[in-house]
Assembly symmetry: D2
């Protein structure tokens, strides 16, 4: 598709050219299927090293990664607790319930971030055979609202989970953006978790997400993502473009930024008329129709010119 | 078990003697199994008549009744919405998720009663393939907090569901108590619903609950419950005993009734010390430890003397 | 239901009068629900003792008992192997697949009895992630064809399962009849199994089956069944009535017994016309329409007169 | 991977260069995700046209295609019947049971091909609530044993299914090879089916399989497969290489071809020693260890030189 850069979602971006090149380069001769090829072995090994993990496994998409991750941690009567705004609860069409049969317990949060304090009052009914047994805490790093948990918040979560005999699962569809924002290593983000997912698709890979298992145990394209920290270069760039967009909005009349910009997402409120006008030209989603909040996402391939042109349109829309 | 009457739950009461007598009377000669016997046929027919329903089906317990009822109304991507305090969400150990694979969406309510207004803001994402599709509204009549929906509230729910293309499922584990409170027929309670469950166990039956299907389609003991409105006599009595208990508490120092007493449940707050003291002698559950709220349930076989002796203990506990 | 004794199935018989009496006797005063009452505790303890088991759990019917038993032994990728004619595969409407999601692998057998030799060639694909992993061997004692495994056959199965890292689950819906036939204790039948089910319903109980767990870990009516070996008295009688029926058929023209009569079932072949004529008067099932095989079941309450009258009808049908 | 051509499976071959080129060409600019892009729309439309179908949907692999296909045709109590050697039953790790909860009924066949005659005796128990209801007949075209159903056999299956109120699902992981063998159009293979799967992966696509729905309702790479009948060119070539291999084996001492070679698979029996010797140099699977049967698969990129070198090794192995 040609035309203007989409600010709809980082998965509107295509595959990273280095990833496509890596696929083409790997596509010579025969290889064992079902993950027994040399690239998969190497990618899994590289990923496990980067995360300080016991093992890494590959799936086709982020929903499958969450389902596989949870399946490793729950028995039939177990439950997972998550933010009410989480991808797991809202955007996966009930995949956890359907595929695993486990209850998902949503918790309202002010900014998409779960806290131990929000979970504690729900740790009731333990040992009661009428009640599901809460066992997995799922947090997303980056959250659906673009916010990030600090390393200190993660540490507190890890301690809380250990003290309460809970597992910590991190949905890392945008984990690279969090590492870019926090300026830390993937291993730092992983050290308090039991299982993480690591999103390739939103970082320029083709149908490839990883499940990282910290305590026990991916593909050619992931190796490309890992080499030279391609995952980080892309994420740093995407975050920088979001920051440029947010900075440009600071003095834009009638536009309010709703959440801290801590990744590649900018949530903003502006009038319904302006949203309609902008969407004629630009692609993005309305997040909350009642409150006229929109979500603007940047990606590894968003350019400064894209952002500046978009800002110009936003400002122009104020005058219509 | 001998000893003092339990105020723990109406399912602490045994089977109604008339039900046991009916089982014994039916236990002569051979009969076709799996529901093809004459008593089941007659009981199903009688129940369908009493509810103005298309058909009635029998299961062993209330959780199975809810699961079967929901299974009739949801496709794999469908969801059921219910009060956060509901039996369906809290006390069935995730049976809907495990057995049907469908998402359950809990909504906080002030008094256990769901309203169209609480549901409306959650009717988003229709047609979005990432999201479960809300299709069943589940309300309990009587709710877990002992409150009842008025006939007018039921009518509004029926109209709302029809307008929004939703189904209405009523968890009727204590439906008899609601009919006794509202002074109405079972058919009046059923007329706005698509599927209801009808609890036999809490009315003195043995492992028998019914699923009532209003638009398309029980056993010896249910026939006994239906004859001479045994279900109503028992429920009227249980409600009257709860009312007597509540009346007796009106001038009891240090005891506050928390919800309207509209069935056979009294929720009350009193000091933790008094709860502990009372539980040494009497059987009942603490509902909310943080707020010192207890639940006192009456049953078809609670006597005035049971209530009065309990009231005396409650008053005495204030002086300790 | 009045009228002639049914030879359709042992579950056409009602509840044993001693069981109904035990229920009535227990029905005094209040008790804790959900299995926390004194009778359940005692019955579970008595059953565990009788089987030399770690624990006993109660469910409402035989299908639930099989599903619960298998759920204790299989992981999501595991499979259960059973006779193609088994109740588990044929008569439970896919309950194992639907409720547990595990594959059931049926094996054709000559007489309803599985053998280690029939299983061995199917122990392939171990460790292959494309294939389900065979883990549970399910055999029924008595089988659907009325045959019994000898204690020696059970011992060989137990050794085979241990050597091949398999679990042995015994469907004991008619285990009492097998013990009566083999003249052994329940504990003898259990000693090579990991999990057994123990049928109450076909022995005169009301909606009560037990799951017996041999290595780790019911109700008033089960206690009645266990007291004075009521389960055995009923089963001995039922078996004796089947033996009487078989003996009476030995010289009946045109009737061939198809399987060894080792319990309370007689499978016989006779002409389609005679089957039709007999079914006008008597209740029983045609097992195999193509081969005109019928199944005649006796129960704890089948009398010698019932058998003799039935034999007279069978002989008379030869002359029509 | 460099080195000798694998005869292990057609999925050991990489992606077709034209497919990789198509992916790279499509990878410009942004596009809507989740199948709402222009290539997906066009590929789905092209596929529907080629099959005379109502619609085409894309999934990541063959197991998912079978699961999705079956899910469209079965209610919770329904069952699918298939050949005991089928991929569905043997190689999908119980995905149908786990994901759908439906029973899979395997039928032994002489050559991997199911027939109406093999199914008829299993059409019993209809309307019996104890039994699963047989509703879907699954056949694979090409079968796991490399055999094909003729158009006449497909027509008979279609008539049988219609007469018996059954659905016909065709597992088409190698459908292109069947079309190449039979010299017919995809639409000819589809005309008697209700749902088909169409394998891209074994034809050179990347993680892309299609579910073709005949009566109601895919991606860039599929478009490449459809353009200029790339799917057929590859399949014709693969079949021709299998035929060349089979022809070369005709006079090879000690090697017996086991099934008709009707696609890109050659099943052959030879001594265990020769198998071991050959596998030191060449990659292929032993199909049946007890009978020393091996499976040799060719692919779109197998060359005449590959086949001839392999034949030379096979002949040489006779002399060791």
């Amino acid at each position: 598709m040609t035309g203007r850069k989409s600010f709809g979602s980082d998965n509107h971006a295509g595959a990273h050219p280095e990833v496509v090149a890596a696929i083409a380069a790997a596509n010579t001769g025969d290889a064992s299927p079902y993950g027994a090829d040399e690239w998969t072995t190497r990618a899994a090994s590289d990923l496990a090293d980067a995360f300080g993990a016991a093992g890494a496994y590959f799936v086709f998409n982020g929903t499958a990664a969450n389902v596989l991750g949870i399946s490793l941690l729950l028995r039939p009567f177990g439950a997972v607790i998550c933010a009410e705004s989480s991808h797991l609860h809202v955007d996966e069409c009930g995949a956890t319930e359907r595929n695993l049969g486990n209850k998902v317990i949503p918790v309202p949060t002010p900014d998409g971030k779960l806290t131990p304090e929000l979970i504690k009052p729900r740790l009731t009914g333990r040992g009661d055979e009428h009640r599901v047994q809460l066992k997995v805490v799922e947090i997303a790093q980056v959250t659906e609202l673009g916010t990030c948990y600090s390393l200190d918040e993660l540490r507190r979560f890890g301690e809380f989970c250990r003290a309460e005999d809970l597992y910590l699962l991190i949905d890392g569809a945008r984990l690279a953006n969090a590492a870019a924002y926090l300026g830390c290593e993937l291993a730092d983000l992983a050290s308090y978790a039991d299982v993480l997912t690591f999103g390739g698709t939103k970082n320029g890979a083709v149908a490839a997400e990883a499940v990282i298992v910290m305590r026990d145990e991916m593909a050619a394209q992931f190796t490309a993502l890992l080499e030279d920290k391609l995952w980080l270069r892309g994420a740093l760039h995407a975050n920088a473009m979001a920051a440029r967009l947010a900075a440009g909005l600071a003095d834009a009349p009638g536009v309010t930024i709703r959440y801290a910009v801590q990744s590649n997402a900018v949530f903003a409120a502006l009038s319904a008329d302006r949203i309609t006008a902008l969407q004629r030209e630009w692609k993005f989603y309305t997040w909350d129709e009642a409150e006229n909040v929109v979500r603007w996402m940047t990606a590894f391939d968003t350019t400064e010119d894209d952002v500046d042109a978009f800002l110009q349109s936003i400002r122009a829309s104020a005058c219509e």
